[in-house]
Symmetry: C2
Subunit: 478 residues, 2 copies
């Protein structure tokens, strides 16, 4: 009963209140539940199944590039966190401190990891001695905690799940290559699996990771034209290595510092999936990441043969697709709504009339298009429908990204776009941090990235008029 | 160089110093590394790959029984931990307390989860309203933390990885069935995948989980004849449900409490694999859990055609086995030692003479038996060798368990066995907690379990002489 009540409360339309639409989708699709722990969410089965699929596919891609998974402690002694100056400044204000173990007060405070660069450096110092021990290419799947003031499910929560890769190399070139390689792994995964088009580039010094020499990023554009940083890859050079004293004997028998990278993608990406593909009926999951790809919904299921046929179709499909039958005692209309709210990419409707004709009806979640298929060809048809849907979803999101990417030649245009059209603003920039901060103060736009593929729109900075150093993507962001 | 130095230091023989042997194996097989965080270990690639295989296979078994994975917060507010009296008494002394978030002192302390019954209850109270919402069959893979005084890699560390299942049912019968079902999942996994024979039974009231009505356990016997609790499944009845006020409307429209279970297996089981199967040359991994099942080691690899043949064999095997080629510039003897220390179940030796004869040599890690096989039949032969090895390892461990399980008819026999033979001691017991504690105080033996299959050895308790209530397995334990 309670469940039925919840479902009929309509999802707030996006146009009316985007933030409320988002909250309605994450809760009504049962992806998360709020917890009584400040800033921490509960990831429910439907949400966690998406994360499991992300893990599985991303992990396979990591392993293809030679990544080994490991597990390091969740606690970091305060003295260890403090070893790299920029890093501690960036993270110390937002960590949770453990001060007592059982009844005993600790002699040194321990923080719950906000990220694990310091622990990885401390470990690698012990295991790397010679060039033969390099490269070290590690990753860990874990949860981290940052004491956030305002939180939103998936987008910003105190605790979140992620993977953090940490690699150590003999040369600066190799570290740079790995940083780029992993950004490309993320980009490829987002575009091909999540159907999310991206802008790839480098963060400005202001926006880069605490302690990094360079941070690369992939930026996606949400329905509301705000940007979401979706994955980052950092090149540390040998800064951390020097702070932690990690040295190795090179082939010439000389001591050299190592070069380090780190890269991460988190449950935040689920927020991107929701805000890039969702609609006013709920979640829309790209077929390649959907935990259930098709829900078979019997029509007049009490009539003889209907349920049997539904399960027969399930058995035809189950080796190649993730498929379920909804044989609950709810009405078909109710089941349709649930399948739509939950973002299951397709449903298969099968009733007595269909059975008579030897057919079934596949309905796409994104377009509601109905595809009638002979039952004996259902495997083939469903494969085609899912493939087409995956591509269509990407193309639709790509069109949205392109439509909402504007060039600003001057400050007036910049403000005009920000006020009336939003989205990404491509503009020239002087490269000065003060100017970047002034822009943010004036209208809330931040630098999203310095795109790898540069264009030139003017000779001077869009804001201060000084000579331009590079093109930048600006935007409002989550 | 440093690595080579490490390898030649021999592993301490088991008979000389079992504890040192264990430490040597976990460090020299590079399963773990010690960290600078009190009581926490670093799980290195070779150790973590074992855990990944455990996760993968156990998770598939869970899902077959209808389990959904979820993720709940890692922090528990103090007030929530205190809701169930026995539970807080059991865990409060061994938790780590977070008292500060960033610069701010928290109004309420939060502990890092030592286990998550309280969080699951708090969540389930929100999502279960009607009998239609039951059962709830959840599991989470995560790390937990217990502030341990003395720690040992895998066996007892402050932080460890595990899975914790939490289920909620409409009836006491259903909860009991689920408790038993999950114990059987663990037992089947240990016996069939890890080749570890077990004793299954119920914990005494003294040894059961804090807050449980009944705890079921699987107990394994290590090489040194000490027992290791390898997995537990708890039936909470409706105790927690009452403490947390979880009620549902049953089919007769009446409010009823729910019945709860929880069950867990942790990285501790890796300690069991080591101590059940390892030998003086290092780790021995059962084929079904080994991250690498066979290492191809070329002999005279610089001779033309040898490496090519090694990779050709790798390609023949890679679709059905986890296989690697060691083409490093170390000597074959050195590679053999590494493969043995690391417990890789088989190696395949292939040299110029073998190639001439169209054959390769498979060497079993456990028995060192050499099996010569025609190369064109290598897939078939390797499959047979691994299957035989898996069974032999189980049978060997089973023989060890049986040989070291003794019946004590009286207190003299009991002490005699404990002093001279060790292992499991089957004896009658009065069922009194005081008597159980007295036994432990006298000679360090604890009750391991009340076996499901009961035998009768006497009418009276082996220790106090009062009328016997049941047969118990006693032993010294990790």
């Amino acid at each position: 009963m309670a469940k039925e009540k919840k479902l009929v409360e309509a999802i707030t339309p996006m146009d009316k209140d985007f933030a409320q639409w988002y909250t309605d989708v994450v809760t009504k699709a049962e992806l998360i539940s709020y917890s009584n722990v400040r800033g921490c969410m509960i990831i429910r089965p439907r949400g966690y199944a998406i994360w499991e699929n992300i893990q599985k596919q991303l992990d396979a891609r990591f392993k293809e590039t030679g990544v080994d998974n490991v597990y390091l402690p969740m606690l970091i002694p305060e003295s260890l966190l403090q070893k790299e100056k920029d890093h501690v400044e960036g993270f110390a204000p937002e960590v949770a401190w453990v001060t007592h173990g059982g009844e005993e007060k600790l002699s040194e405070r321990l923080c719950i990891r906000p990220t694990s660069e310091t622990l990885f450096c401390d470990h690698v110092k012990d295991i790397v001695h010679s060039y033969r021990d390099l490269p070290v290419v590690y990753n860990q799947w874990c949860s981290v905690l940052r004491w956030e003031k305002t939180t939103r499910p998936f987008l910003r929560s105190s605790e979140f799940l992620w993977q953090e890769g940490h690699t150590f190399h003999a040369t600066a070139e190799e570290a740079k290559e790995r940083t780029e390689q992993m950004l490309n792994v993320y980009a490829d995964f987002c575009e091909n699996v999540l159907a999310i088009p991206l802008v790839k580039g480098k963060k400005t010094d202001k926006e880069k990771f605490a302690g990094a020499e360079a941070t690369y990023t992939i930026e996606a554009l949400m329905h509301d034209c705000k940007a979401l940083q979706s994955g980052t890859s950092h090149n540390f050079g040998n800064g951390f290595a020097k702070a932690f004293g990690i040295e190795y004997t090179n082939k010439e028998n000389k001591l050299s510092p190592v070069y380090e990278t780190s890269w991460g993608m988190s449950t935040r990406i689920i927020g991107a999936i929701i805000m890039v593909h969702g609609d006013d009926s709920g979640l829309v999951l790209p077929p390649r990441i959907a935990p259930v790809q098709t829900m078979i919904i019997p029509i007049q299921q009490k009539k003889e043969g209907v349920l049997d046929k539904a399960f027969e179709i399930r058995d035809m499909l189950k080796s190649n697709f993730s498929v379920k039958v909804d044989d609950s005692d709810k009405s078909p209309g109710w089941k349709f709504s649930e399948q739509e709210i939950q973002g299951i990419p397709t449903r298969i409707e099968i009733g007595p009339k269909d059975i008579e004709k030897g057919q079934a009806v596949i309905v796409r979640r994104d377009t509601r298009e109905k595809i009638v298929t002979p039952i004996e060809k259902i495997e083939e048809t469903l494969a085609e429908v899912l493939e087409t849907m995956q591509n269509d979803m990407y193309n639709k999101a790509k069109a949205h990204l392109e439509k909402n990417t504007h060039i600003a030649h001057n400050w007036e245009e910049f403000n005009d776009i920000l006020e009336n059209q939003q989205g990404f603003i491509r503009a020239m920039w002087c490269g000065e941090r003060e100017c970047e901060e002034a822009i943010k103060d004036e209208n809330g736009a931040t630098t999203r990235c310095i795109p790898f593929v540069q264009a030139k729109h003017s000779d001077v900075c869009v804001h201060c008029g000084k000579p331009a150093k590079c093109e930048v993507y600006f935007g409002k962001a989550y």
